[in-house]
């Protein structure tokens, strides 16, 4: 009985401690600058956006989504920063580890040197973040951040 009791308490302690521990930094975050527009013959959606294709089309009403800048960062400590860039835009991401497989990210969208948008988010695994950016020509700049 005492062995089982000790095992039960050990499991309980592990559960309690695991809830308070920061997320394990073994995940990678994909950040992308995506240009959405309508064309007669759309190119296939990039692999990173496959699971979001229907949602993106429904949200923005465009039939083509092309990645114009991206970055894939493997988080080791959970407290890192990186940059996804295109010719004119850059998305700066600064991460802080949070609890339960999530990260607090500070995102800054620059048009060249000009800060267009800044946001702080708590990014959860399996819950992508989609940001509607500025209108570009006849299309739309969309920012995506996904924990893979």
């Amino acid at each position: 009985m005492s062995a089982r009791f000790l095992a039960f308490n050990a499991a309980l302690l592990t559960f309690v401690l695991s809830q308070g521990a920061p997320a394990m930094a073994s995940e990678s975050v994909w950040s992308g600058l995506v240009m959405a527009n309508n064309v007669p013959e759309p190119t296939p959606i990039p692999a990173e956006l496959n699971s979001l294709e229907a949602t993106l089309k429904k949200l923005f009403g465009y039939n083509q989504f092309q990645v114009i800048g991206e970055s894939r960062k493997t988080l080791k400590t959970g407290e890192e920063d990186w940059l996804a860039t295109s010719k004119y835009f850059s998305l700066h991401v600064d991460s802080k580890a949070a609890k339960r497989s999530s990260y607090v990210l500070t995102l800054q969208l620059f048009q060249e040197q000009k800060l267009l948008l800044e946001t702080k988010t708590k990014l959860s695994k399996s819950s992508p973040l989609v940001i509607k950016g500025p209108q570009v020509g006849d299309g739309q700049l969309v920012l995506l951040v996904v924990i893979e």
Partner: protein
Amino acid sequence: MKTFEEKWTAWLDGQLTGKELVEFEASLPDKAAAELERQDAHKLGAFLKEHLEAPAMTNEEFFHHQLRGQIERESASEGRPAEAPEARETWWSIGRLLWTGAASLAIFCVCTYFVITGDNNPGGQSTYLTQIINARVDPAVSPNATISIFESKENRVTVLWVDGLQSLPSEYAAK
């Protein structure tokens, strides 16, 4: 003070003496009849002592007597409800108490955790969805910009919808 019956019994047994004996015999209405009655009582007593003694039992009879007595006692005890054992066992043994306490503690920890973390969610957003803590645009660059936040349940997508940003020419779509 003794009653007449007490004095009569004591007189029959020959226990009255002295002045008390003289006064009692003087109070008897018919002393000859009383004497006769006393002699009959003595005879009866002697007869009973002689003939009503407990008969001596042989070894076999004594054994049977003991056996019958034991059977009667056991039969009587079977008819009564069984007495409660001295150390009455209960469901709450030490082991079960410990298990119950540990399980209660576990339930308390889990409930407390979910209550506490549930209170920390800004705007009541689910902890499983990405949450927008804050968002801003530079009013000097985009004075008419508006920000809204919503969730798309299909892929558990959190959307930061910014309207009113300055439109840019199509060459800005270059990689």
